[in-house]
Amino acid sequence: MKQILIISGKGGTGKTSLTAAITRLYDDIVVADCDVDAPDLHILLKPDIKERSVFKGGKLADIDPEKCTECGKCTEVCQFGAITEDFTVKKFSCEGCGVCVWNCPFDAITMYQKESGEYYISEIENGIMLHALLNPGEENSGKLVTGVKQKALTFAEKRNVEFMLIDGPPGIGCPVISSLSGVDLAVIVTEPTKSGIHDLERVLKAANHFGVQSKVVINKSDLNPENTEKIKGYLDKEDIEVLAEIPFSSRFIEALKQAKTIVDFTPDGIESQCIREIKSKLDKLI
């Protein structure tokens, strides 16, 4: 079984549209949406949620006003500025380190485990989908990503599927690092814009840093053919395969507006041919 992660660095290059379309081409697959703070894959794959679980994320400090003497020790030791002038805890700033708890001379602070989100085990037409939703503003998205991936992995092994696809988050920080862990291949979706190229280089370095091999899809490739050539030249030098070049097409947006994947919306279109080309190249990994 191969775990394939779809990431991009820059947001909005087409990760989710691509993941959903590739998913549709398999008879049996396990797919995980690891963009847990802005998950969109469910919009295209319409999962039927079978099981919901609460995600216990980080801890949070709580000050008991009865015991607090406002001595200020907690404000002094807190490195995150999470305690207000009137000695309450700023929920969005507290990182749950607990340093205030054991430094408080009056035992006025306790930690509690907060519910940081939910994750779901769902059925889709051709397999299983794991997804989650982080509560708005929460940290610990990396931990939730790991949780979703581990669940997906148990299903992938149980069902004996050939592929597990993972729709990754944007960026190169904590949730991306968690997404990269243990995958066989990162498929990086880029676009021929200066921003796209800048972010592609950074996400390639991140994948490389964590020892993950990468292949690239150039989306909207005819938007700027010169930049597409630049990307191909750069990737050639780095010995990274281009899986496909997908031309700019308003049909992706039209399909999305109808909440359909491109392969369902226009099965014979050039866009769908590109998706099938990517699939056949991925199949060779087995």
């Binding site: 703070d37 490195q79 990182e95 982080l134 503003g137 998205s141 944007p170 960026g171 921003s195 972010d199």
Partner: protein
């Protein structure tokens, strides 16, 4: 001084485009500082031909363990919530990528065997685009997990003599986004008229609403069919403050790293209305 954050749940909706248009237009009347808070993948600098003023390394605390003094009592390992210290019989291992620099280990060590070290996690850069535009961005080193120390550093470096500060926020709705928009006077939520755009707009709005910051919606790549967003706008009572039409030519210029403030002639007045209504 007014502070405006430009945010969106979904990536690629046009945060950077809106931040730059707002900066360029506002600078016709006001002194502006643009702060690119998307430290994982900053893009504003690609569009600005700014004059660089200075660049500094950003460092965060990490424990430097003095094995001569260490009694291997494991207190540091016990207090660390992030499991970034592992105390062996005659050595202490530190995993920097797991560390949230809380200094708990430093405070708890009974032997005074931990010193304060500084670990580099990225760079912060200062630019001057024109008389009226200051510009800052920070960029996180590849392999680092936490964007927050870099955003914090950006926020420590706000100019005092400007009329307007614009924060280009990272995508998503988790801790870096919160840190970027927190303490703003107003949040511009950039979206696109698709189901993805709507879903992530709702998530971003729930964060901004929780923080108690007023917000307005910008619909980018609008081709007329935007009911999906305008319905949400009336239902939640968040005004649509601007619609930016889809333009292939604008997209091509963007791909070259070019943003023209006067490309859409209608938006200038609306941008000033936004600024002046805050």
């Amino acid at each position: 001084m007014k502070k405006i954050a430009v945010a969106s749940g979904k990536g690629g909706t046009g945060k950077t485009t809106v931040s730059l248009l707002l900066t360029l237009i506002a600078s016709k009347k006001y002194k502006v500082q643009l702060v690119d808070c998307d430290v994982e993948n900053p893009n504003c600098h690609i569009f600005l031909g700014s004059f660089p003023i200075k660049k500094e390394k950003i460092g965060v605390f990490y424990p430097v363990i003095n094995l001569e003094k260490c009694s291997f009592c494991k207190k540091c390992q016990e207090v660390c919530e992030y499991n970034c210290l592992l105390v062996l019989d005659d050595n202490v291992l530190f995993f920097p990528e797991l560390c949230h620099p809380c200094k708990g280990c430093l405070f708890v060590c009974p032997e005074g065997a931990i010193d304060e070290g500084k670990r580099e996690v990225g760079d912060i850069c200062w630019f001057r685009e024109s008389d009226n535009i200051y510009f800052n961005y920070a960029v996180m080193d590849v392999g680092e997990a936490r964007a927050n120390p870099l955003i914090e550093e950006l926020k420590k470096n706000l100019e005092n003599d400007v009329d307007l500060i614009i924060f280009d926020s990272p995508p998503g709705a988790n801790c870096p986004m919160v840190q970027a928009v927190n303490d703003s006077d107003y949040v511009i939520l950039v979206t696109e008229p698709t189901p993805f755009g709507l879903y992530d707009l709702k998530i971003a709005w729930s964060v901004v609403n929780k923080l108690g910051i007023p917000a307005g919606i910008v619909i980018n790549r609008d081709e007329g069919e935007d009911k999906i967003i305008t319905d949400f706008s009336s239902q939640e009572n968040i005004p649509v403050i601007l619609k930016i039409p889809f333009s292939l030519e604008f997209a091509r210029l963007y791909s070259e790293g070019v943003i023209k403030a006067d490309f859409f002639p209608d938006i200038e007045e609306k941008m000033f209305n936004i600024i002046e209504s805050i």
